[in-house]
């Protein structure tokens, strides 16, 4: 099972690098760094889902910490919109998740990644049976 994370280069990428160096970043994740989570389009996420990724996580900065002021909020609105569309299309919206992270939040982000992996696993088993 492949999972993808679009990560903000300024916050989340640093947190994940720290988690990888500490050895507690869960396996199975591929990373796609973007200058800001606001750069991630709905099409990028759906493109990844239709091409074999079981789940996509978009990680931006916390509110008010965004280098670009509101990129994280723009991403938040987009992902919420996309989750609504997925639900209507009969795809479990838990396959797409938005997380906020700070460069110091490695442990928290790793926990979120593990949790999402478990959720997507459960969805896959449910759909498979």
């Amino acid at each position: 099972m492949k999972l993808l994370a679009f990560v903000c280069e300024r916050s989340a990428l640093r947190a994940i690098e720290e988690a990888e160096a500490g050895g507690f970043w869960p396996p199975g994740w591929e990373l796609s760094p973007v200058p800001c989570s606001g750069r991630v389009d709905v099409l990028h996420v759906t493109g990844a889902l239709t091409r074999g990724y079981a789940g996509v996580m978009v990680v931006g900065c916390f509110e008010e910490a965004c280098e670009f002021l509101q990129g994280n909020l723009v991403a938040g609105r987009r992902i919420e919109y996309l989750r609504g569309l997925l639900k209507e299309a009969g795809v479990d919206p838990a396959r797409v998740r938005l997380e906020f992270a700070s460069p110091a939040g490695a442990a928290r982000l790793a926990r979120a990644a593990r949790e999402m992996r478990r959720q997507v696993d459960a969805i896959g088993k449910g759909e498979g049976s």
């Binding site: 993808l4 679009f6 591929e30 796609s32 973007v34 200058p35 800001c36 606001g38 750069r39 991630v40 389009d41 099409l43 990028h44 493109g47 990844a48 091409r51 990724y53 008010e64 965004c66 280098e67 670009f68 002021l69 509101q70 990129g71 723009v74 987009r78």
Partner: protein, 398 residues
């Protein structure tokens, strides 16, 4: 006037901020509404009781200014435009700046009604009392041997800075003018740097402290004096007074002072107001007691914090990290204009002047890519983060 950064207000935080930014190599302009630099630093009754200390600090800050364009007797009346290209109205004269720092400080208004008193010559605000103590001839006539009370149950009761200033005033009135000083407070704050020492000095000099507790004070105006009924250990105590000094409500300088276009919403009331260094409007920053309840050290530090925020904001992204628009594809739908967090895109004639297209301002674009992600005509690209590159990393093609 043309600068990278325009700092309005040359108090402690404005001076610290302007100095720090100039040392980083930015072109800075500093405006002060009064005829001299210093703001509140000029009128402080002395930090920890030493009048010389602030003068030295002010001289130090002025020396640190370096090559800054200083505009005295100048008020910032209005701010127009967006980050990277603010247009300023400086008392009729024009100015241009890429970012603006507002460090215009506080406005104090005394509210005697909050204490059941009427404004008058025998009811002073704390800042009026500080002024009175600074003029010994008048102060001797009005204070020597008189009964003075300080009422702190409004906003000052929660503010360490105002509390320290009020204790300084009580000490000065008692020690220098032999006034009988009584202190009525909702709470007595002694936990904090310098507060404990001030409280002990005041107590040893004979200042009487009443903690107000649950029951409200009863004040009666008796013509030439007041009568206060307070509670001590559950028993009523009557105190006669000649002069009342009350704490003041502090608000960011009002619309008359804060320039049009730069207004900030301070929330319901001080002193718990806390705004960030970045104002809700991109490119306009706030520093000093304008945005939070800060004492002198706080203001100096906050000037530097605002300088760091401005410097980060002004860091230009590389050429290939900024948005580019394909004029042929642009549908002028305004999606990018609406979405850009930096207000960096406007609909303008294309270079040939034939049709209107979205044009990003290179000075304001930070390269976040929010516009590129949303453009329905796929007309906007960020060369360093194209869709192809994002899909390419996934091992799929767009």
């Amino acid at each position: 006037m043309k600068a990278d950064i325009f700092v309005a207000g040359a108090g402690a935080s404005g001076l610290a901020c302007a100095g720090a930014l100039a040392r980083l190599g930015h072109r800075v302009a500093l405006a002060e509404a009064r005829p001299a630099l210093g703001g509140t630093l000029r009128s402080l009754p002395g930090y920890l009781g030493s009048p010389a200390c602030d003068r030295r600090l002010l001289a130090e800050l002025e020396r640190g200014l370096g090559p800054i364009e200083v505009l005295l007797d100048t008020r910032l009346r209005a701010i127009r435009g967006g980050p990277g290209r603010f247009q300023l109205d400086l008392d009729g004269a024009g100015g241009e700046a890429r970012t603006v720092v507002l460090a215009t400080g506080l406005e104090r208004t005394s509210v005697p009604e909050a204490h059941g008193l009427k404004a008058g010559p025998r009811v002073l605000g704390l800042s009026a009392l500080a002024e009175l103590l600074g003029r010994p001839e008048t102060a001797i006539a009005r204070l020597r041997g008189r009964r003075l009370a300080l009422f702190l149950d409004g906003s000052a009761a929660d503010s360490r800075r105002q509390h320290a200033a009020a204790l300084n005033l009580a000490i000065a009135a008692r020690r220098d003018f032999a006034a009988e000083v009584t202190w009525f407070g909702r709470d007595l704050r002694v936990a904090g740097e310098g507060l404990d020492a001030r409280y002990r000095v005041a107590r040893d000099l004979g200042v009487t402290f009443f903690k107000q507790g649950e029951r409200p004070l009863k004040l009666q105006d008796e013509g030439d004096s007041f009568f206060v009924e307070a509670w001590l250990d559950g028993l009523p105590v009557g105190v006669n007074l000649d002069l009342a000094a009350i704490d003041e409500r502090e608000t960011p300088r009002g619309e008359a002072h804060l320039p049009a276009g730069g207004q900030v919403d301070p929330g319901p009331a001080r002193p718990n107001m806390r705004l960030g260094n970045r104002s809700p409007r991109p490119g306009i920053f706030l520093a000093g007691s304008l945005r939070a309840d800060l004492d002198l050290e706080g203001c100096l530090g906050d000037g530097h914090a605002a300088a760091a925020a401005v410097a980060a904001f002004l860091r230009q992204p590389a050429e290939e990290a900024r948005a580019r628009v394909d004029g042929q594809r642009c549908a002028r739908c305004l999606t990018c204009v609406r979405l850009c967090p930096h207000r960096a895109i406007a609909i303008q004639p294309d270079p040939a002047g034939i049709r209107l297209v979205a044009v990003p301002d290179p000075a304001a674009c930070r390269g976040c890519g929010a516009c590129a992600a949303a453009c329905p005509a796929l007309a906007i690209t960020i060369p360093s983060s194209t869709d192809e590159a994002i899909y390419g990393r996934l091992g799929v093609t767009a």
